[in-house]
Every structure is written in structure tokens, then in C-alpha cells.
């Protein structure tokens, strides 16, 4: 006699270690195979876009820290770029270079957590992530030197950065860029050809190139699917046009490609930081702007290649001291659009690593 089976629904999250925050996947399973998945958001929705409409342009900088809180420097940069575009504020050269150094350090720090957490999901429990947290710690020390904070930096200002770097920063940074490539080699030695990583991640959770473009994926997710698109090259902001670096891409768009792209991007970031240190000019780091800045009427969209994808701010000014509209183009939310397509047909354990390989931060998804 055949045993009657039927699909059943389970909730993965919102409180579950694999969801990297408060995210819920309403999953329909047939045995162990995912047949449908509906993402449920909003558990971390704080209404930042509305709150920002009641505060001045400068007061809004700390809000951006709290979007993707693993990449606060990048968020600061995207926001101040948008305000500078709106108000036409010039930025001193030294500040531009400092911004690039901070943004690239932040990219390494964010990728370390992204890759480490992904390997955690793969079952390489805690060993790789602890190696990676070891190096991230050094980056946090550097950030603490420049702004006194280790998580929410609030370092950048409209017109530059809040303060110049202290004396001990450049020697410490030189030491870091000297040792970091060796640590990346160490990860590669441990993981790149690791049989378990290959078996778990190769060919799993494929995002085809056409679909990646159609769902507006960005960052390592888009590049892993074989699209060579990086805003630092495609639409250079700050002083990125002065540095030499490559855009690593994947070929298949599976979990392994996304992991590899992040590892290779860290090498490129080290390369950029080295060049920025060599070219770092002396001089002012902040253009004086009124504390209650009133940009002329109009709108501006400023965007950057943040560690997790394209982060953009769409600002509308009515010539008052608060933004009329403050919209965040959140790469983390948009990158999840095809999650359902990538998961269906795979087992629960594969669905978990597929989600992990996208590398999201709920602070930015829910805002």
C-alpha cells in the first residue's frame, strides 16, 4: 500500500541562526525538498526613511550607520555623496583618499563576515569565521583610531570626513596591508579546494546571468553570475578612477562562485588601499558647510558599490534644512528577489547555504 504524503509548511526564522538576523522564510517542503518559499520581511523595520524627513542633512548621517551595520563606512559614503551632489559641495583631495581607504577596509571587513557566516552555514562550524574575525578585529582597531567607534562610525561628513587620521594610523595600516594577503592565502589554502566546501557549494543555488540582471541584483551576487559590472569602474565616484584594480567575476552563479568572488575582491581591496596610501596627499579634510545645510530645490541620486551591492540614496530637497524625501536603494532587499527561484528543488540544507551565500544584512533589508 502506498503511503500518502503531502507537502507541509515550516517557518525558518525569524529567530533562527541561519537567517542572519530577523528574517522569515515560509517554506513549503515535500519531504526534505523545498517546493515553495515566501520571504517575510519587516521585523527590523524602523522607518528610517520617514525619520530622516524630520532631521537635518547632518543629523541623518548616524542613521545610515544603522542600515547595513556591518558596512557603516560605505553607508556614510553613499549618503554624503548624494548630499554633496544635491548641494554642490566640493571635497578636499585628502578626504577623498581617506574615504576610499575606509570604504575598502570596510569592504574587506564585510566580506570577512559574509564569507565566514556562509562557511558556518556550510557546516564548517566556527573555525573559518574565527580566523576571519581575527582579521576583522584589526580593521575595527583601525576604525577606532580614526573615529573612536568600532561598529557605527559616523566618520564621514558632507564635504569630507569628521577629522584627520591620527599619527599612528598609517603605520598600522601599512602593517595591515602587508599581512592581509598572507591571511587571504591562508583562507584559500584551507577552503578553496576543500572537499566539503566544493561538495556543498558547487552547482548549488544557481542564479543565471539573465535572471541576475532582470532582478536588479548587484554586487558580488551579480558578478558571480558572470556580469562584469562594478560601479567603481562603470560610474567612478570619489577618486576610484585613479586606481588600478580588477573586477573578479564568476562563471556559473552558484554559491561557490559567490564565495570565490568575495575572496578575490578582498585581494583587490588591499591593492586599492596600497595605491591610495602611496598617493595620499596632505591638506584639509573637510570643507566648511553650514550645520543647517539648505541644498537648492531639486533631487539627486548618489550611489556606490557597497560591499553587498549597489547602495544608493535618492534625495529630494525643497530648500529647507531637512530632506523632503530620503529614499534608500537597498541592495540587500533587491538581491533577495530571486531567492525563491534559487531555492526551489533543493534540500533544506542547500536552501540555507543559498541564502547565506547572498550575504544580506537585515538592517538594510528592513530599514
Amino acid at each position: 500500500m502506498a503511503i500518502k504524503t503531502e507537502p507541509f509548511v515550516i517557518n525558518i526564522g525569524p529567530q533562527h541562526p541561519s537567517t542572519h538576523g530577523v528574517f522569515r522564510m515560509r517554506t513549503t517542503l515535500d519531504g526534505e525538498v523545498v517546493v515553495d518559499m515566501e520571504p517575510v520581511f519587516g521585523y527590523l523595520h524602523r522607518g528610517i526613511e520617514k525619520l530622516a524627513e524630520g532631521r537635518t542633512y547632518t543629523q541623518n548621517i548616524p542613521f545610515t550607520d544603522r542600515l547595513d551595520y556591518l558596512a557603516s563606512m560605505s553607508n556614510n559614503l553613499a549618503y554624503v555623496l548624494a548630499v554633496e551632489k544635491l548641494a554642490g559641495v566640493p571635497v578636499p583631495q585628502r578626504a577623498e583618499y581617506l574615504r576610499v581607504i575606509m570604504a575598502e577596509l570596510q569592504r574587506i571587513a564585510s566580506h570577512l563576515i559574509g564569507v565566514g557566516a556562509f562557511l558556518n552555514d556550510c557546516g564548517a562550524f566556527m573555525t573559518p569565521i574565527l580566523y576571519m574575525i581575527r582579521e576583522r578585529e584589526k580593521i575595527l582597531d583601525l576604525f577606532e583610531m580614526v573615529c573612536g567607534q568600532r561598529l557605527t562610525y559616523n566618520y564621514m561628513r558632507v564635504g569630507g570626513v569628521s577629522q584627520d587620521i591620527p599619527e599612528e594610523f598609517l603605520p598600522a595600516l601599512a602593517k595591515f596591508v602587508k599581512v592581509m594577503p598572507g591571511f587571504i592565502d591562508e583562507y584559500d589554502q584551507l577552503l578553496a579546494e576543500n572537499e566539503i566546501v566544493l561538495a556543498r557549494a558547487k552547482g548549488v543555488g544557481i542564479l543565471p546571468k539573465e535572471l541576475a540582471i532582470n532582478i536588479s541584483a548587484s554586487g558580488p551576487v551579480l558578478r558571480a553570475s558572470g556580469v562584469q559590472w562594478d560601479i567603481r569602474k562603470a560610474d567612478p565616484y570619489s577618486v576610484y578612477d585613479r586606481f588600478e584594480f580588477d573586477i573578479p567575476t564568476g562563471s556559473v552563479g552558484d554559491c561557490y562562485d559567490r564565495y570565490r568572488v568575495r575572496i578575490q575582491e578582498m585581494r583587490q581591496s588591499v591593492r586599492i588601499i596600497k595605491q591610495a596610501m602611496e598617493q595620499l596627499p596632505s591638506g584639509e579634510v573637510l570643507t566648511e558647510v553650514p550645520l543647517r545645510l539648505r541644498p537648492p530645490e531639486g533631487e539627486a541620486y548618489g550611489h556606490i558599490e557597497a560591499p553587498k551591492g549597489e547602495l544608493g540614496f535618492y534625495l529630494v530637497s525643497d530648500n529647507s534644512e531637512t530632506p523632503y524625501r530620503f529614499h534608500i536603494r537597498a541592495s540587500c532587499l533587491i538581491n533577495l528577489t530571486a531567492l525563491c527561484d534559487m531555492m526551489i528543488g533543493w534540500k533544506v540544507a542547500d536552501a540555507i547555504i543559498t541564502f547565506g551565500s547572498i550575504d544580506i544584512c537585515m538592517g538594510e533589508v528592513d530599514r
Partner: protein, 149 residues
Amino acid sequence: MTVALSGKEIAAKLQQRFPGTIVESSESSLVVKSESLLDIASFLKTSPDLDFDYLTAITAVDYYAYFEVVYQLTSLKHNHSLVVKTHCYGRDTPVLPSVVSLWRGADFQEREIYDLMGIRFDGHPNMKRIFLWAGFKGHPLRKDFSNGD
């Protein structure tokens, strides 16, 4: 450098093909009638010299008299961009056509606009709130929203 295409030039091109659908145009953007949004978007996506295959972002702004919905389009192939806007009138049941059939990247963003600004998108496969719960009253990003404080 991503070239921002002139709204005026594109508007002149569209005017020939879709007469009477352009409300206004400037160097930075163009405003189209909401009824013809889907036709124009489809043309912008499929026409080979424009080839807007990538929908960077959608957002909405409340100007009291109307809602302005802003579409930021990019072509990864030609590395150029265009800002297309449309105006949506009425505060009770504002409706726009959904562009999910062209760019699936619009899926969550249109739901977000519906949730926070209260504009419905016709033809969206799953038009419901995304961040707030189903029983929530009002749409917080509207300028006249009050939570009772």
C-alpha cells in the same frame, strides 16, 4: 562613466512613436503619462540602441497634489542611464501599471511603495504589504500621515 541620457532627446524620440504620451521633459528626466508607462518602458527595454535591461531603483515622492514615481533605468551593455517619472493622481486609490513583467527587480520595490506610500500596482503578482503588518492603518511615507502623536 555612466552617461546620463538627456530626457529631452529621449522624449523627442518617444514622441514620434508614442505621440501625446510625454507630459514634460528636462535634461535630467522625463515624465510620461501613467496609462502609457508600460508601453514606453517596454520600448526602452527592448529597443537595441537604448537597451535598458537593468532597473536600478524605483521610488515614490508625495507632492500632495500627486505622487511622483521615479524609475531609474540603466543599460549594462551601453553603460548609460535614464530617469523616467510618472505622476499618479488621487489619494484614495492611486493605481499604476506594474513593471514586474519587464523587470522582476521591481517586485519588492513596488510592494514597498504600496506599503509605505499607498500606490497600488496593477498586474503585480503579489500586491501586499512588505514591511508593515496586514492590519496597519495608513501609509507612513505619505506627507499627511499621522500616527496619533
